[in-house]
Every structure is written in C-alpha cells, then in structure tokens.
C-alpha cells in the first residue's frame, strides 16, 4: 500500500533518433501536488506523453500505484487511472461542452458514475454548467482550460497530470484555476503539474522537480526549490 501514485525509473524516450528523456526518475506520492519545472523544449510534455502511452518509452519503467504501465496503449493508461489534461487543451472544439465532459468519462469505470462526476465537475467549475449546451469552441481561453481539466476529472483519475494549465490565461483566470486545483487536491487526487508560473506553482506544490537536458537535476520541497540559487537565477530571473 505504500507504493507512490506515480513513479518513473530511468525513463528514456524521444522521437525517432532524437533523444529527449535520458533517464528520468521521479515519484508523485499519494495526496501530493508535485510540480515539474523546466525550460521550453526540455521534454516536459514528452514525459507526460510517454507516461500516457502516446510516446513509447525506449527504456525504464513507469508504475501507477505499483502497477507497471509503460507498455499500455493510451486508452488503457487512462482506464488504469493516470489521466492528463494535455498541453494546449486539445478540446473537441466542434462538440458541446457537456459532450466534451462525457467523452472524458469514456472508460468503463468512469462511465458508470458519469452523472455523479458531472455534477462534481459542474460544482468545481460552475461556468461549465451554465454553458453546457454550447460548443466548446465558444468558451474563452480560461474557460476552455477549465473544460480541459474538467474533462480529465471525468475519467475519475487516480492520478492527475496538468500540462501548463495557466498558459495564455489572464492573471485573474490563473488565480481561479489554481483555486480549482487546490480543491481537486482535497478530493485526494494526487496532481503532477507542469507550469511556467514557477513562483505560483512552487508555492502550491508539496514538492518539485527540475528537468534539464533530459534528466532531473534538482528536487526538493516547494519551499526549498524557491530558495535554491540555481532555480532562482535560471527560472525566476532573480
């Protein structure tokens, strides 16, 4: 029972001959919020795509609550309980907001409880309930991000990953979104979050990892990392 929610060990992955991840080892514990920091193009999204099975791992292992998942296809990874809200939202723009959410509940475990989960998501993001019969494409950027997070929640994740949820949002929307993320933590869902808003995310996170040149180069609690000199100068510009 003590296995972490998510654990990668010596994970290697890339595209064709291009190697992006060169042995990434990290863990997300139960009930934790863990942040992943890294420069543009370092491979943060690739890491999530590899965990989700969209990119095949070339080496190393991925475990979800102790079960190995690195060989599973994406839909089975989602069914197993690792769900991500992908970079750039990737909504079904020509479908209704409620349909986007229902698609999120496609796996059998989630589908049986979709009505209840839908209520929970609407409670978390009331704006989605208000506009449930509108096309997803009619939402503002911040609302679309809430829909992307809501769709991921519809799958009833046992571990949730968010890839740059605040990208392109106005500051007020960022605050509202982070508020939503804190509430998700209270649902006892561990969260693995990639963010450019380094200061804000490390304030919220229990722990963080810094990814550089395909490897984890720095790790610690949110507070420790905020005080780290290298992190300060490289990612906070202080």
């Amino acid at each position: 029972m003590s296995q972490p929610a998510l654990e990668t060990v010596d994970l290697h992955a890339g595209y064709g001959d291009v190697r992006v991840l060169n042995g990434v080892s990290l863990t997300v514990g139960r009930g934790e919020i863990v942040a992943l920091i890294g420069a543009n193009g370092v491979g943060k999204t690739t890491l999530l795509r590899t965990v989700s099975g969209l990119v095949r791992a070339k080496g190393g292992t991925i475990s979800l609550f102790g079960e190995r998942i690195e060989a599973l296809p994406p839909h089975d990874v989602t069914a197993a309980g690792f769900v991500q809200s992908p970079e750039g939202k990737q909504l079904f723009l020509n479908m209704l907001i409620e349909e986007n959410l229902l698609v999120g509940a496609h796996n059998r475990r989630a589908y049986e409880r979709r009505k209840q989960t839908l209520e929970e998501v609407y409670e978390l993001f009331p704006i989605l309930a208000e506009r449930r019969t509108k096309l997803a494409g009619t939402l503002s950027g911040g609302q679309q991000q809430m829909l992307a997070v809501g769709r991921a929640l519809m799958a009833r994740p046992r571990a949730l990953a968010l890839d740059e949820p605040s990208l392109g949002l106005a500051p007020i929307m960022v605050d509202r979104l982070f508020e939503g993320i804190r509430k998700i933590r209270q649902l006892d869902i561990p969260i693995f979050i990639i963010e450019q808003n380094v200061f804000q995310v490390l304030n919220m996170a229990d722990r963080g990892y810094v990814l550089e040149q395909g490897r984890v180069t720095l790790t610690g609690t949110g507070k420790e990392l905020l005080e780290n000199q290298h992190l300060k100068s490289t990612y906070l510009g202080l």
Binding site: Y15, G16, S52, G53, L54, P73, P74, H75, T78, A79, V83, Q84, P86, Q90, L91, F92, L93, N94, M95, E99, L102, V103, G104, H106, N107, A110, Y111, R151, A155
Partner: protein
C-alpha cells in the same frame, strides 16, 4: 419540352440522386473520421452486389432478404481492411493525421486487388439478380415511380438520418466524433482509437452492404461496376461537403437531378461530363461544399 417528360426526369433524378447520396455516405463518414479517402469504396459496393447475386443463385435468398448477410459481411470486410491494411500506416505516422497521399495510394491498391480478383473469380459477364417480390411502380399523379429505386432512395434517407442520430446520441457515436475531432485527445480520454477507426470503416462499408442488396435487381453487376459508383461517390461527397452526412444526400440529389435533366437535352455521356462541370462550378463558389463548414 413536354412538362410531363421533364417531371418524370426530375423524379427519376431525385431517386437516383438519393441512391448516389446513400452509396456515398460511408465514404464521407470514413473521410470525416480517418481523413482517409477510400479509393476502394466502389469496389466494396461491387462486392456487395455480387454477394447479393450469389446468395440468390446458390441459396435462393431474395436480394431484399440478403441484407441480413451483406450488411454484416461488408462490416467485417471494412473492419479488416482498416485494421489489417490501413492501421499499420496510421501507426507509423507520428503526425496527427495520415499523409493523405500515402493512404490514397494504399486504398487505390486495395481497389486494384479487389476489382481484379473479382474479374478472375466472376468473369466479365454482366449479371443481375431478380426479386420474387412484385414491385409495380406507384403513380405520383401521372408519373410512374419505379419501386426498387424508391426503396433505395428511402433507404438512403433513413440511413443518413439514422446514422446522424446515432452519432449524436450514443456513447460510441460520441467517441467516433471525438476521434474525428482530435485523435490524441480522444485516446487520452480513454477511447480505443484503433478500434474506433476499424468500427467506423466497418460501418461505412456496411452501408454499401445494404445498397448492394437493394441495387442488385436493377444495376448491371460486373467486376468494373464499382469504379463508376466510386467516382460518383467522391463527386457527391466533395460537392455536399466532406464529412457531412446530410451533405452527402444533398450532393447526390443535385448530381442526380442535374444529370437526369441534362440527359433530356444531350446524350447521357455528355450529361455526365456536364455534371463534372457543375461540380467544378459549385466548388469555385463554395470550396467547402454545399453543406460543409468553411
């Protein structure tokens, strides 16, 4: 021009056009979801026509009853074509969609293989099935309406409406639309994308199974009959708006009526060429097709 003859031509054009639209539905669905132009579309209709024909010859099954065999048979064939032949290509692609050209070449190969195998197996003879149902024409005022064609027309409307409704309201239908909209996001949402692709291809082909049975009594069955229908379907789908099911029917009606009227004034072959002209003209004005979204 005698108005009675003209209205007869229009009615016939509507019936044939509706059938074109129905035959094209699967092509539109498959392109809308997989972004693959299935060059073998007409060949699958040809197989269905032969299936209906041979079921009658060997087992004495009336073409109208053979639906219960041809529909699942073509579903299976479509499912297999996708999962055995096209899926490996899609798996190799790292981009969001398949390179249209490579998929087109692949399905063109499938078309060549199927049509030539059919020629080897069945020979070049023209065949036709007969039904034991008495299907006298019904009178629309003074115009006689051919019953087998009316049935085909009705089936096209029913299938188009039924399919659109199914896509809109069911879990599988929603999954298919999600895959069409964003394949990676659909996979991340827990949808088995390769399965959805195969099912979609199967559904598209199974519609041809239906029309194979319904057309077997009045379309001359030859190994080459598919190409003609395939090219028509392509025109109908592009004209109506690629991926739009109502567009497929509307496109079929436009082509059917246009050709029927034109062939009152010029020989039928010239009418077909004129309809290509109409096709180009409409696309110049509306590049996304009649019912397509811009």
């Amino acid at each position: 021009m005698d108005p009675l003859i003209l209205s007869f031509a229009v009615v016939n054009g509507l019936l044939i056009g509706g059938i074109y639209g129905g035959v094209a539905l699967g092509l539109s669905l498959i392109f809308g979801v997989l972004r693959v132009v299935n060059f073998a579309h007409g060949s699958l209709l040809m197989l269905a026509l032969y299936a209906a024909y041979w079921l009658q010859i060997w087992a004495g099954i009336d073409p109208y009853y053979s639906i219960i065999v041809t529909v699942p048979l073509l579903f299976g064939i479509g499912f297999m074509i996708q999962s055995v032949i096209i899926a490996p290509l899609i798996r190799r692609e790292s981009a969001l969609v398949v390179e249209p050209l490579s998929a087109l070449l692949l399905t063109a190969g499938v078309y060549l293989v199927i049509d030539n195998l059919a020629l080897m197996a069945f020979g070049p003879n023209v065949r036709s099935a007969t039904t034991s149902f008495a299907l006298p024409p019904v009178m629309l005022g003074q115009i006689p309406v051919n019953m087998p064609r009316l049935i085909g027309f009705g089936a096209a409307i029913v299938v188009a409406v039924g399919l659109a409704w199914w896509l809109k309201t069911t879990r599988m239908g929603r999954a298919i639309r999600a895959v069409a909209s964003n394949r990676d996001a659909a996979a991340l949402s827990g949808i088995n994308v390769p399965l959805v692709y195969a099912v979609t291809f199967g559904i598209g082909a199974s519609i041809l199974g239906l029309f194979g049975s319904l057309l077997a009594t009045f379309v001359p069955i030859t190994p080459q009959v598919g190409l003609n229908f395939g090219i028509r379907s392509f025109i109908v789908v592009v004209l109506g708006g690629i991926g739009s099911l109502p567009g497929s029917i509307v496109g079929g009606l436009v082509i059917g009526v246009f050709e029927a009227i034109a062939s009152q004034f010029v020989p039928a072959t010239s009418a077909a060429i004129l309809s290509l002209g109409l096709f180009v003209l409409i696309l110049l004005v509306r590049p996304s097709g009649l019912m397509g979204k811009a």
